[in-house]
């Protein structure tokens, strides 16, 4: 089962994501801020990280930088950003830091699922 790390400080959004992804047979883990995300990513080596940007303590960009610079994670872990930040500059920054997709909030759950499926199927 593919491991997906969900990172967001909004519990309600996490809950909806968790439910949908589990229903689609993914193993999900939850981090509520960047610090936790980095810890868990290193421990779990997830196949995918669904990452918010604006979070307490360590923000999403820093998490991206960590993933990008990590020996094993940089090749094996893909990232999707989900953020309410919508400026073109924010999108570019995220993609430049190695994210595969940048999905603006509020997102469509169906679209998110199809992207997740696509990324994780290709990886196989």
């Amino acid at each position: 089962m593919k491991k997906i790390l969900l990172v967001d400080d909004e519990p309600n959004i996490i809950m909806a994501l968790e439910y949908s992804l589990r229903k689609n047979n993914y193993d999900t883990f939850i981090a509520r801020d960047g610090e936790e995300a980095i810890e868990l990513a290193e421990k779990l080596k997830p196949d995918l990280v669904v990452l918010d940007i604006m979070m307490p303590k360590v923000d999403g960009y820093e998490v991206l930088e960590f993933l990008k610079s990590h020996d094993t994670l940089k090749d094996n872990t893909q990232t999707i950003i989900i953020s309410a930040k919508q400026k073109q500059s924010d999108v570019e920054k995220g993609l430049n830091l190695g994210a595969k997709e940048y999905i603006k909030k509020p997102f469509s759950m169906k679209k998110l699922l199809s992207i997740v499926n696509e990324l994780l199927t290709l990886k196989k």
Binding site: D9, E10, N12, I13, M15, A16, L17, Y19, S20, K23, D33, G34, I53, M54, M55, P56, K57, V58, D59, Y61, E62, A84, K85, Q86, K87, K105, P106, F107, S108, M109, K110
Partner: protein, 898 residues
């Protein structure tokens, strides 16, 4: 001393002067030669043999009147400097080389006026020079024969003639080194300064000799003199008429210090820098003062020793000779020789420049010169000048040989002063009155001369030469009102002052009246304006002159080459083109070029000739007076426009910086607003995202357990409420900011409000194990809006809760009241507020920089709302910056609302 020895001494002395002059010419730039003291001393050329010998004679014959000749310059020294500044300014701008040029230029390059002034100067100088020669000759005789010369020698010695010739060679050589007569004659001036030192030193020596060696000091001279001489007559001013005479004499000498050609030469033409004036203002009067210290004692001493039959003019020689001190007599003779040489040389240099530039060239040679080649022209002009030097000295010698009037030196000197004083109205008034015209000037000068002839020269001749007394006693044609010494019944003045009074009266009158009746042509008016506004002319240079017509640069250039040489003409042209950024291809000459060229030529051939030369190749059109007046007015306007432009520009610069500041402020506001909108959008999107995601999940999952469905539905409700709060906050803030919100004021307890707020957050605080204390001294009752103030306190407390550490967090609330206000402090032990944010946290659209990872609960403009509410209550809210740990926010509410 034998004649041969004395002649040898004279030649050695002249040789030394030559060497000194040569030395100065070779070391032009050196500190010694260009020292301001040299300039100040060269002014002492004023003290000629007339001073050196004549003052003593005057003092012996008529008492202290001799002082007037020196009091004029001394009293007027400050005024003299002021006027001199203006004269120098103008002369330097226009390359003026003599007083004739100065006056002629002022009245529109008038050729005839320049010639007239030259003639006046010649008439004044030549007898004056002859007077100097007479002094040389007589003193030579006295010293060489050691006779006491009681009857006054009239022997024309051959030596005088040769000395005169040598002076002419000296003057013509050093006086015409440069073609441009307005350039400095360093050699001549340096030797003049040297002679000034010599003559003063020797005169002081003889003064000390008479006063302290022959007599026992000044008191001794005075006591002895008072016993045997009529001192009353010799040492006082005689009543009203004496006073008036004094006054006139002082005026006369004051005029002379400006108008005597040798003074104009030394003070104006040879002027090079401002320091010279600074030195002269004290040194020159001091020099004159020193020269007069011993005069009266020598005069009295001479009278006591030699009696009143001796020639008092030569007391300085006769007293040492009487006591057998020949060496001193020789020294005094050398001093006198110095006075003569410097006067003769400078005077002839000045006169020769005038004669050549204002009389001979413009009236005779100008046509030849325009055809000649440049090097030949320079030679011709220099030769004319040299010839003029010789002619003036020879004329002076002939005058002396023919007339040798048996009168004192002083009287001839006064005639010289009288004649030169006729230039005064044209010269002085012309500098300050723009209407003065050439016609008025010419008629005035001629009329003045006529009156001098009638009131002084003719009676002088009839009285002293032919002893015909009827003219003086009965008057012209026997008419008493026409008595030459008491014209129209004015008989309180002495002959000289009487002549001065009437000549200047008619001179000035004619000048003023004619100038008013008949306007001068545009050239005169133009130069009149320029001379009156000399300060402006220095700024405007060529732009000050109006000229209309057609002339070609090439033609004018040819003339310049002819008179200045190729190299100088080319250089001048380059300077001109650079100064005005004129295109070298430009074929037509403009007014500036015409004026520029005229000025260059003025230095070489004089202003009148310069005008003639230019007008030969230029088709000049008359300019209306209005245009002439306009140019200076316009330039004045330009200046004032420039000034106001400058002011405007200053204002604009200030405004710009203010705008920049305001713009920066706006940009910051704009940035804050952008950030705010971003944040608002972000904060709105977060619950919406949650709602959308939850709804999607619910819609898609029929098989979802009921409990989970409830949770998702609850989440949706929660997020909807959050949205509502957020939107209300934004609306509140806008409402308060725009002043549309009103307070519901009631007199109530602030303590209770704070307690309620603390209770409101106590459950969260309890969960996080945060300690909240409330400390107050008394119960405070004031008027406030409960709902709004509890919002403030809740907000501040919530903020603190967000920042304090969990488990050992501590929040303290203090309430203190005085007679004026109520102070509430909310202090926590959190991480505090960064220094740079202290002022910003209350800004309407401010969100902390740390926004990306510090998501504040609510919208981030809670503090802005607090600020609005507190300010609506007339209070202030601020963050205390003077604490070491944590944050302290302070709310001040007034007890009575304003």
């Amino acid at each position: 001393m034998s004649k041969t020895a004395l002649i040898a001494l004279i030649f050695v002395y002249l040789g030394i002067l030559f060497l000194i002059a040569l030395f100065a010419e070779k070391n032009k730039g050196s500190k010694l030669v260009s020292h301001p003291i040299v300039y100040a001393l060269s002014l002492a050329v004023y003290c000629s043999a007339w001073t050196y010998y004549g003052s003593v004679g005057m003092a012996a014959n008529s008492g202290v009147e001799f002082l007037t000749i020196y009091l004029g310059p001394i009293i007027a020294a400050p005024l003299w400097i002021v006027l001199l500044k203006k004269i120098i300014q103008l002369s330097k701008v226009y390359n003026i080389s003599s007083i004739a040029d100065f006056i002629s230029l002022r009245y529109g390059n008038s050729r005839s006026l320049g010639a007239l002034v030259t003639l006046v100067c010649a008439a004044s100088i030549i007898p004056y020079i002859s007077l100097q020669l007479k002094a040389i000759s007589e003193t030579f005789e006295i010293v060489s024969t050691s006779t006491l010369g009681i009857e006054g020698s009239s022997v024309i010695t051959d030596s005088t003639f040769y000395i005169a010739l040598i002076l002419a060679v000296f003057a013509s050589f050093f006086g015409t080194l440069a073609l441009d007569a307005s350039k400095n004659r360093t050699g001549v001036m340096f030797s003049v300064a040297f002679e000034s030192v010599l003559k003063l030193t020797f005169f002081l020596i003889v003064g000390v000799y008479v006063t302290y060696y022959v007599f026992d000091g000044t008191t001794d001279v005075y006591q002895k003199a008072s016993l045997s001489l009529d001192l009353n007559q010799l040492s006082t001013i005689n009543g009203l008429s004496g006073g008036i005479n004094w006054y006139f004499s002082i005026v006369l000498s004051f005029l002379a210090i400006f108008l005597l050609p040798r003074q104009f030469q030394t003070s104006v033409v040879e002027f090079t820098n401002r320091k010279q004036l600074k030195t002269s203002i004290w040194l020159f009067p001091l020099y004159l003062f020193l020269f007069n210290v011993f005069v009266i004692f020598i005069a009295w001493g001479g009278l006591l020793i030699l009696g009143d039959q001796a020639n008092a003019d030569y007391f300085t020689l006769l007293i040492p000779l009487y006591f057998g001190d020949h060496w001193l007599a020789v020294l005094v003779f050398l001093g006198g020789l110095s006075a003569v040489i410097s006067m003769v040389v400078v005077s002839t240099v000045a006169l020769s420049t005038m004669l050549s530039n204002n009389l001979i060239i413009p009236y005779g040679f100008i046509k030849n010169l325009t055809r000649g080649k440049s090097f030949k022209n320079e030679k011709t002009i220099k030769n004319i000048r040299r010839l003029c030097v010789f002619i003036s000295i020879i004329l002076a010698y002939l005058f002396y040989a023919l007339f040798d009037p048996k009168v004192s030196l002083f009287s001839i000197g006064l005639i010289s002063f009288l004649i030169i004083a006729q230039l005064a109205p044209s010269f002085f008034i012309g500098m300050f009155w723009n209407r003065g015209s050439a016609l008025g000037s010419k008629v005035g000068i001629i009329l003045g001369l006529v009156f001098i002839v009638f009131t002084y020269l003719i009676p002088f001749f009839t009285e002293h030469v032919i002893s015909y007394h009827q003219f003086v006693e009965e008057g012209f044609l026997g008419i008493h009102l026409l008595k030459p010494y008491a014209l129209f019944g004015i008989d309180i003045l002495n002959p000289v002052n009487h002549a001065l009074y009437w000549s200047l009266f008619f001179n000035t009158g004619a000048y003023l009246i004619l100038s008013v009746i008949k306007k001068g042509n545009y050239r005169e008016r133009n130069y009149g304006e320029m001379f009156v506004n000399s300060e402006r002319v220095v700024e405007l240079k060529e732009n000050a002159y109006v000229w209309k017509g057609e002339a070609y640069v090439d033609d004018i250039q040819n003339i310049l080459v002819r008179f200045l040489g190729q190299a100088k003409a080319d250089k001048a042209l380059r300077v001109f083109r650079k100064r005005y950024a004129v295109n070298p291809e430009e074929k037509l000459a403009d007014a500036r070029f015409i004026n520029f060229s005229e000025r260059l030529l003025t230095g070489a051939v004089g202003s009148a000739s310069a005008k003639i030369l230019i007008s030969n190749v230029a088709k000049e059109k008359p300019v209306s007076l209005l245009e002439v007046l306009k140019i200076l007015e316009e330039n004045k306007e330009t200046i004032s426009v420039n000034k106001s432009l400058e002011e405007q520009s200053h204002k604009l610069i200030k405004l710009t910086s203010e705008l920049k500041f305001a713009n920066e402020e706006l940009r910051l506001q704009d940035q804050l607003k952008d950030d705010f909108l971003d944040t608002v959008a972000h904060e709105l999107k977060t619950p919406i995202t949650s709602i959308k995601a939850s709804s999607e999940v619910l819609a898609d999952s029929e098989d979802m357990p009921q409990e989970l469905q409830h949770r998702f539905l609850n989440n949706i409700i929660q997020d909807t409420e959050r949205l509502t709060v957020l939107i209300n906050d934004i609306l509140d803030l806008e409402k308060m900011a725009s002043g549309r919100d009103e307070l519901n004021l009631q007199l109530q307890s602030l303590n209770k409000c704070i307690e309620d707020a603390i209770n409101g957050i106590s459950s969260i605080a309890g969960k996080k194990k945060i300690e909240v204390n409330f400390d107050f001294s008394s119960s405070v009752m004031i008027e406030f809006d409960y709902n709004k103030m509890i919002q403030v306190f809740t907000n501040l407390l919530s903020n603190s809760i967000k920042f304090v550490p969990e488990n050992n967090g501590k929040i303290e609330v203090f309430l203190v009241a005085n007679s004026e206000e109520v102070v509430t402090k909310i202090k926590d032990n959190g991480k505090g507020i960064p220094e740079e944010d202290l002022q910003l946290i209350f800004k309407k659209f401010y969100q902390s920089k740390n926004q990306t990872f510090k998501k504040l609960q609510g919208s981030g403009f809670g503090l802005a709302i607090c600020k609005q509410i507190v300010e609506m209550h007339g209070g202030v809210i601020y963050a205390n910056s003077n604490i070491e740990t944590g944050a302290e926010l302070i709310v001040n509410l007034p007890k009575r609302r304003p």
